[in-house]
Symmetry: C2
Subunit: 159 residues, 2 copies
DNA sequence: GAGTATTTGATACAAAGTATCATTAACCAG
DNA sequence: CTGGTTAATGATACTTTGTATCAAATACTC
């Protein structure tokens, strides 16, 4: 009944959890067990998960998680910027470079589900300038580019 | 019991329905009453509607519409390019310039719900080039920029 | 270690989207 | 203007995704 963390070796997991702790402290917000579990689950998944997939991964460790509580934790982690939501797949993914606040773009492979988080300055500049030109004060930018990744195209001779 | 169309005067409605007819004919696809009704309902709404809002607007004229059939019509109209789906608000909107196939961006006002459909070349070029750089063959680009429109900022002195 | 405000658990529900299969209707040919 | 054919719809039931409410638990401060 050792209750030590499972020694999953996800690169950067420890660092990410430390960062989470600091972020919470800096903002005077509480770091709860579930918030930690949600982030760490997303990190070790290594891919985007729906809220309910996430819930299932939490269950073994924490049988009393509910959809509402998972969504609450996800919302919290998103305001901290350490988790992003993919609108076009209704799923959530851990941020790949949460050091800085950022406007990012996602590239999503429709075959293997791989998601790459990019931070392209041309896109950032172009969207910002479009917003200004049309008189919008933007506060959220969803840029999700779906297609087929290189690997999948390679292994797609037929079909 | 006159079953003539209601004489709603939405600018461009007739033109849009004609275009729909031609598109269907050109592709050898069927133009059904419901498909016409869905497009015309979206057009006269003049804003984005959720599938269920749309369903309610269809009901008075066509009491036997169901969610499934509405979604089917929407999917059809989207493949034709005359309707777009807004991922970030889970809603649908008639295309504002369906003449040409296009990659568009949406600006969405979070206060009044206004949606502007833009076709910005810098964004198109930048996203395409990002895709190439990362090895993705893109087939879908979701660019949805949310903020507050000029009008709403004006009338927002307080709050 | 106790106090307090925040978070969570439990429950129930709302909203969004899909599967299946028998029936209907759009289109075409004649 | 018939039918005949095939794609689309209707009916039904269900899955997935997301929220509201309020009492109980817990993270943080002192
Ligand atoms: Zn990020
Ligand atoms: Zn792939
Ligand atoms: Zn359009
Ligand atoms: Zn507005």
């Amino acid at each position: 009944m050792a209750k030590t963390h499972k020694a999953i070796h996800t690169p950067g997991l420890e660092g990410a959890l430390d960062r989470l702790e600091h972020l919470c402290r800096a903002r005077g917000q509480r770091l709860t067990r579930q918030r930690r579990a949600v982030l760490s689950s997303l990190l070790s998944a290594g891919r985007a998960l729906s809220a309910y997939e996430l819930l299932e991964r939490l269950r073994p460790e924490d049988g009393k998680s509910t959809p509402a509580s998972v969504y609450r934790s996800l919302d919290f982690l998103m305001t901290l910027g350490v988790v992003h939501r993919l609108e076009s797949t209704r799923s959530f993914i851990a941020c790949e470079h949460p050091e800085t606040p950022h406007w990012v773009q996602f590239l999503i492979c429709r075959r293997c589900g791989q998601v790459v988080e990019a931070e392209d300055e041309r896109i950032a500049a172009a969207t910002e300038s479009l917003g200004q030109r049309l008189g919008f004060a933007l506060d959220q930018r969803v840029v999700e580019l779906t297609g087929v990744c290189e690997g999948c195209r390679g292994s797609a001779a037929r079909h």
